[in-house]
Point group: D2
Chain length 322, copies 4
């Protein structure tokens, strides 16, 4: 079962039109481009898939689109991200209804709790959709809880969790999780959510990666995965070097923090490459513009990616003057 979630499973970035509608043609281009590059799955409605910004209707629209575009070529993992258990379970029901291959849920957030509550949260989600593989999404920078290793292993052994998407930026902890998982008979599929240290995660023994940057360039991540499977560490390293250079599209951005810089750079690159029609961002985030776009274009060029455009029209911000 868990074999099917190994390898490169990019979190699909969600394209918007200038007026903040879901841009279906761009979504199709982007997902097809990744599948053509050989990725092993698509993770939709992840953090970089703007799940937190999307209304329930929009989420449904995104899942539907992803399912239709992917068309069973690879598994589709669906993020069911919300504050507490009952809200997450509602998303899980929708994901199941729409045909998700697996779902991905974080620890509860907003309200403060303890470890017992986190564990019960995952058990309740699994109980609600027992037929649907469940991944725990370890992303303390968003939910402010680090998932404990012993709990993860226990939930794996109990059949509650199928795997973990680790975006905790704690390579030491991930290393120990891999070892614990191996000792326990490998109940969990362990995916790293990194872009520039996937090589280290593979050295540690990861079962795959969920790199946002693969939206911009998936081939290198596929090569890296294949090289890892063959024990060809020199190639792993070479591909990672290329991707670290490309990831500079996010760090050249100035004056913007967090999601607006990170996913903003991905969308801007995708628009410059002609995959996306715009680099529009979900409210209240503004799309990147001006020198930030130029800086991203320069990185893409340095990395040898084929620019379709060198500048972007500024999406009209139709609502609020500020």
């Amino acid at each position: 079962m868990t074999q099917q979630f190994r390898g490169v499973i990019p979190p699909a970035v969600t394209p918007l039109t200038a007026t903040h509608e879901l841009d279906l043609p761009s979504f199709e281009s982007s997902i097809n481009r990744m599948i053509d590059a050989g990725v092993n799955g698509i993770f939709t409605l992840g953090s970089s898939g703007e799940v937190a910004f999307s209304t329930d209707d929009r989420r449904r629209e995104i899942i539907n689109a992803a399912m239709e575009i992917v068309d069973d070529r690879v598994p589709v993992l669906v993020g069911c991200i919300d504050t507490e258990t009952n809200r997450v379970i509602e998303h899980a029901y929708v994901a199941r209804e729409l045909g998700a291959s697996a779902i991905v849920a974080t620890a509860p957030f907003y309200a403060l709790g303890g470890e017992a509550e986190v564990e019960r949260h995952f058990r309740l989600i699994h109980e609600a959709v027992p037929d649907l593989p469940l991944f725990a999404y370890d992303i303390p920078i968003c939910v402010h809880t680090k998932l404990q290793r012993d709990m993860l292993i226990r939930l794996g052994l109990d059949g509650v969790l199928t795997g973990v998407k680790d975006s905790s930026n704690d390579d030491v902890s991930f290393r120990f999780l891999v070892d614990d998982n191996n000792e326990a008979g490998h109940p969990l599929t362990l995916l790293t959510g990194q872009e520039v240290v996937v090589d280290g995660a593979y050295m540690a023994g990861a079962d795959g990666s969920v790199p946002g940057l693969a939206n911009v360039e998936a081939t290198a991540y596929v090569h890296m995965w294949n090289a890892y499977q063959e024990g060809d560490w020199r190639s792993v390293r070479d591909e990672q070097d290329k991707m670290a250079a490309l990831m500079r599209i996010t760090s050249v951005v100035q004056g913007v923090q967090g999601f607006g810089a990170g996913v903003g750079a991905f969308k801007t690159a995708l628009a410059l490459l002609g995959v996306f029609d715009t680099n529009q961002m979900p409210e209240p985030i503004a799309p990147l513009k001006g020198e930030n776009v130029e800086r991203i274009a320069a990185v893409l060029k340095d990395c040898g990616l084929p620019l379709e455009r060198t500048s972007l029209e500024v999406s009209e911000s139709t609502v609020v003057k500020d």
Copy 2:
């Protein structure tokens, strides 16, 4: 306009039946008890009103119940708490449809952002429901962003914000906010979300308080407010002393953290006082039991509150064995 949101505006705790349904009779008893004590408003779907745990249907059910019970005797503020702008706006539309007197929204959370995004977030919410007074809810412990004073004042002067509910536990910052607000002509109604340092907030010049503990005992907070209006600081202090002693119901709890201890203690006290039928908590939180209930009963007794029961039946946890 803002005058109507001054004084004591408790965040209504939400009673559940043993099977996790909304317990309407208990909700009615509790809200009536607070209004009879003289509170100046009711804040429903706040953090302690378990907004983060409630599905959209449950939220609608709670608002409807609150509106019907309150029946225009005092204003009803409704928490529109969700991760990002578009999701919050959907809750705002529901609150408006159901007749809310005002809405309350936090900074965006889950995704990382900057100050510009926070400001635009509030402006967009106001633009969506311009007729509905909007309070900013400053609660960094839940959303991990502290609202900046200059932004709050600017949004007040621009008519975007009607007021601020400050649950930041930063009395220094609150003191400066009050002064800034006074200098700016008092555009904002400033409410403190504290229970045991309301006296200090009144010394600083707060326009009211939103004390969760008022669910358990509202009279003292009403007395405190009246004494403050009359400059009778000795009485302010005496009432605060009583409420600090009563707030020990939350700190005597052992082995449980955060919401489970805080709101758990409120619900347990309300059940022991016969106002609530159970002390059931929303999933994945377990209700308090055993010695924790005894400790809370002892505090209530020490504080002279009339216990209806001295123990509680343990609500059956019907789902997950753990």
Copy 3:
């Protein structure tokens, strides 16, 4: 015994010459000015006394100067601030040798530990200088540990601690500490380290305050204390209002964070008032200059304080070009 440490005990700001020597005449002026205003003690080598920036020789020089200037008019508390127990004890021996009335120590910092280690730390310090009253300095923003209330009370009852200087900016916790201390028979003298919410701390029942701003203007804090002793809360509030307005000298500073802005503003104000000769700061902090000085001068003027100068010579930075 603990009676002698009640009231207003300012943390003495340390004046430097342009070449970073201890400026003895300015130190004398400043301390005398505070004692003349009626303060109840002087706390030297606190955080705002630049203890962390001072070498051991400089610390000895500061203690010696303070002892000589104060000349037994009020008690002198000496900060013994260092990373771990043995280093703190060395400072305690020096403080005892030089005649300190009491010493003040934080939780251990730099290395990570737990609660047992924090408690043992204070016990060992007391055991090394059992004759010297010991205050625990609760300053998590500097040492990243919050002192637990039950430990503090236990150490008070065991005669290890004489009191607590609370700079934790957690008024809720301070409120509960006061109550716990009263229940335990008041073993601890509880001092708040705040400037703008001293009124709230007095409402809570504090035994005194340690306001850095009293270096700039001590009279109001003395008045506030006396009014508190007499139950004259209106005057407490009036004096606090004045001091909140004056504290704006720290928040008008732009482009500088932390110690450089806070103590930088105190030193700048003292230089503008003619109490200090320069506003020189300890390395690696630069003294405030230009518009920041002008902004501070404007606040002082608004608050009715008598400026001796309206600008300051920029202290030559003799070492590093940057």
Copy 4:
């Protein structure tokens, strides 16, 4: 010049006698054992060398001992760890006087500051001892400041810094630092302070490692380094696997946090292996005992290390009853 600081440079753990004296024979055994294993340098008075716990006299004693034992066989780096610039510079003078090959300093801590102050701090230290290679020690868990990449590169290019010891547990940032450093012409020697993800740091291009665990077993780290130099990634990975298994000595410890668990486990292992005479810890930390010792012994045994003892005498704690 910087070539001499490449490779494996363990932070020497400091052995104590039961009465808290420096245990010279154990120190000699341990350092010789590491040099015999082929390490490329010794870092004394690092965090795990208990620098924060050691008085100035003890620090001098440790440096003297290390210099004498090492006897020019490899370079000796000396930690000059203190709160702010002037205190660090005093330690730097001592290190220079006693013959250190290089010094290692963190960002300032305790007082709050900004980036300009951090940069000036390193410049002033270098100006004080311009002849002594200076490493920046990036350890935010202890000093609560993350060193910025652009500043590090600038200080490298200006000849202020010779290198960086990265203990920030941020592999993404380290990866980018390596790339920035290469682009700048490799002005900095970049050492990782990790134990279980050294393989990833080598993949990223680190110039060496500073693993505390090498006190317990240095050979594997030397092998890993050599394999890395030869591009033999399979061996890098195998050696790292062994060391990850051995590092479990720190995670099997129960009921103790931080330094007491981490360095406590190293000392306990060294005592069980017969390298150290005791596992005594610096005050206020208690040495590990009972089941924690047994658990560590079990890990050592599983990893095939030759135990000299299977239990340890409990060091008498001579001072405080608690």
